[in-house]
């Protein structure tokens, strides 16, 4: 089948009136599911699965793809408005989104998040359609050494999260890495650092820690009368909720951020084991390093939101590449998609393009249509959510607490997760007092497990020779990435010293 025929068959599948309506319904469902804390993209796809049992394969693919893409976008809504990341990949969105909402610029923050999400999604959909085979082949070249180097690159942000407190940022990152070690070791199933607690056998879940560190700490801060707090009569936005969209000039000012993060997000999404969460943290790191004004990141600028949202949505398209062309899911949500498609008789793998090409084109068209329609539909939903900010804080604060509590519990139906969330909330307070960094702890926790597993595998494969793991001959990708990591880690410490000497 030629490219034109493929496109035509995909368009025919998606542009029928009933299908179009179904995509709209899927976007609404996906956005709302994503916006609710505790309902991850995986859970959103699993919830959407129940609607597809009576559907034919193509409508089922279109419906689930639309839910998958829009749920990642929906996660940004609560991240910006309440500092509760709806999905873990929206955690970096809180760094700049929430300060903007507090300044009364919720509309602009949401607008940037949605546009960036759509852009990232479109870029990755096009990449998936045109470059599915070569991209998969390239991703398969990544061995454990390379994957370790990729995650280590994400960790290199530690030294520039807060240039005034580099040492405490490193300590925070190491605490996060240590938190990721709690529970059974993923390689040999040996119990570590549980301190005898059965609840910690399975490890520390990311979602309760994220919710505790961001949402609960914020509510605690508002409870503390010594801190600058908003009036109890007003909402987060000081009572005034501005839903004004970003201007064209503002969007154009972040065009390179959007392009870079969409490309990197797609590539990270393709890599097995990595996913939208790692993609968003990595791109946020990258943009902090490349920006002309890195000190403004974290204070509420649109660049930070664009980096996080473009990359996490691009990763969704990226994750579809190995899923469709190899039958390997790139992440948990993709694994649920895979089971649904297999249930419908879709044979995922190298033969998909030759034997069932309509499925690939339907997925592509569904992603294109979803990402375009999502801007309009999700903006409507976001505006409704934004009005919540005008609610007095003595109502909104407790609602945030309850949403956080449900979000932590719903993840695994475990009370222990709620207790971990409260501990993380208190930890967030201590972190602030001692100039540690919450983002660094989260970064360590998110990347820790993947970092250790890949290091362990690479160590075994290179027969315990660390230099062979990053040899420029055997592992050129890992070598280049590790050199970049070292340069990035050392530069904030060395550069001021060099400047001092010169002066």
């Amino acid at each position: 089948m030629s490219m034109g025929q493929l496109l035509a068959s995909g368009a025919a599948a998606v542009f029928s009136p009933s299908m179009f309506l179904m995509v709209c319904v899927a976007i609404v469902l996906g956005t709302v599911f994503g916006a609710l804390p505790g309902v991850s993209a995986t859970m959103a796809v699993a919830l959407g699965l129940t609607f597809t049992y009576t559907m034919q394969p193509i409508p089922a693919i279109v419906f689930l793809t639309a839910i998958y893409c829009s749920s990642i976008t929906g996660g940004s809504i609560t991240a910006i408005l309440f500092k509760i990341p709806g999905v873990p990949s929206s955690a970096p969105t809180t760094f700049d989104g929430y300060p903007m909402a507090q300044r009364g610029e919720a509309g602009k923050a949401l607008g940037v998040a949605l546009l960036a999400s759509a852009f990232g999604g479109l870029v990755s959909a096009i990449a998936m359609f045109l470059l599915s085979q070569p991209l998969t082949a390239a991703a398969l070249q990544f061995g454990p050494s390379d994957l370790f180097a990729v995650t280590f690159l994400g960790l290199s942000i530690l030294t520039c999260l807060d240039s005034d407190h580099i040492l405490t940022c490193i300590i925070s990152g190491l605490i996060g890495l240590l938190l990721a070690c709690i529970g059974q070791d993923k390689m040999y199933a040996v119990q570590r650092l549980t301190f005898g607690s059965k609840q910690l056998f399975a490890g520390v879940e990311m979602i309760p820690v994220l919710i505790g560190l961001f949402a609960i700490t914020e509510v605690f801060n508002q409870t503390n009368p010594k801190k600058h707090r908003m009036s109890a009569e007003d909402g987060v936005g000081g009572g005034a909720v501005n839903t004004k969209m970003p201007s064209l000039a503002e969007i154009l000012s972040i065009k390179w951020t959007l392009i870079r993060c969409s490309v990197v997000g797609t590539v990270v999404g393709i890599l097995p084991g990595a996913g939208a969460t790692i993609a968003s943290f990595m791109c946020y790191t990258m943009e902090t390093k490349l920006s002309k004004y890195p000190e403004k990141f974290g204070t509420g600028i649109i660049d930070g939101i664009a980096a996080s949202e473009a990359s996490n949505n691009a990763a969704t398209g990226g994750a579809m590449v190995p899923l469709l062309s190899l039958g390997i899911p790139g992440g948990n949500a993709a694994a649920v998609m895979m089971s649904a498609l297999t249930l419908k008789g879709v044979q995922l793998g190298p033969l998909l393009l030759t034997q069932q090409p309509t499925y690939l084109s339907a997925t592509f068209m569904s992603m294109i249509v979803t990402n375009i329609l999502m801007v309009i539909v999700a903006m409507g939903i976001a505006k409704v959510f934004a009005q919540i900010l005008a609610i007095p804080y003595y109502y909104l604060g407790p609602i945030i607490v309850m949403l956080a509590l449900i979000g932590s519990y719903a993840n695994q139906m475990a009370i222990a997760d709620v207790q971990i969330m409260v501990i993380a909330g208190v930890l967030g307070l201590l972190v602030k007092v001692c100039h540690f960094n919450s983002a660094a702890i989260v970064l360590g926790l998110v990347l820790g497990s993947m970092c250790e597993q890949n290091f362990s595998r690479a160590y075994l494969m290179s027969k315990a020779n660390i230099f062979a793991m990053f040899s420029p001959v055997q592992h050129p990708i890992a070598f280049v990435l590790i050199i970049a990591c070292i340069a990035l880690l050392v530069s904030p410490v060395v550069m001021p010293l060099i400047r001092k000497k010169k002066a």
């Binding site: 609710l36 509590l405 449900i406």
Partner: protein, 204 residues
């Protein structure tokens, strides 16, 4: 001073964990004998060593920075402790800690109502009647969204609270069934009758 104390406590805690809790189960002999395998304790131990070095540097930095300051004494720090226990922040932490422990025995409905009321009061709500009504309404809305629509199994509680939660779940299921068809509607009516009787027995 608090910053110094916390750093010292972390230093001691991680040092203790290094020697006692990094490995809590025997490593399989196959792994032990494999010279190329990264032992399960190697990665966390490496992190703790780095952490201890960084914490030590940080402790020295804090002492150097604050040396000679009047409020940088143990006495000055101890004087602030009673104020913390009287603060709203402490009450907030207590409310959430208690909520995380009563969630299982009292169930979602009661815990949610109590948290919404208590935290609302803490954040400065003055119209108590309104706060109670809002708490009831918000609890029901959250329950319907998460339990009814998203099928999240929220904690039911123990004893009669469990019966109450089951009765509510039956009502939600009945409402769902009403949209299913005549047979389901009949089943729903039957369930509603059972629920009504359960509630009446509970009240009685």
């Amino acid at each position: 001073m608090f910053e110094l104390i916390l750093n010292v406590l972390l230093f001691v805690f991680f040092g203790w964990a290094f020697f006692t809790h990094v490995l809590e189960a025997p490593v399989p002999i196959k792994v032990q004998k494999n010279p190329y395998a990264l032992q399960p304790d190697a990665w966390p131990k490496a992190i703790i060593i780095l952490l201890e070095i960084c914490l030590l540097i940080n402790i020295i930095k804090i002492i150097k920075k604050n040396k000679g300051k009047e409020d940088f004494t143990l006495g000055a720090f101890c004087a602030t402790i009673p104020n913390f226990f009287k603060s709203k922040l402490f009450i907030g932490i207590v409310i959430l800690t208690v909520a995380s422990f009563i969630l299982e025995p009292l169930g979602f409905m009661v815990t949610s109502f109590l948290v919404l009321c208590a935290y609302g009061w803490l954040l400065g709500a003055k119209k108590y009647g309104q706060l109670v009504i809002a708490s009831v309404c918000i609890t029901f809305i959250l329950y319907i969204i998460f339990s009814g629509l998203l099928s999240v199994n929220l904690p039911r509680g123990y004893g009669f609270l469990r019966d109450f939660a089951l009765a509510l779940e039956n009502i939600v299921q009945s409402v769902k069934n009403l949209f299913g068809g005549k047979k389901e509607a009949a089943d729903a009516a039957e369930t509603a009758a059972v629920v009504f009787n359960t509630v009446r027995t509970m009240i009685g």
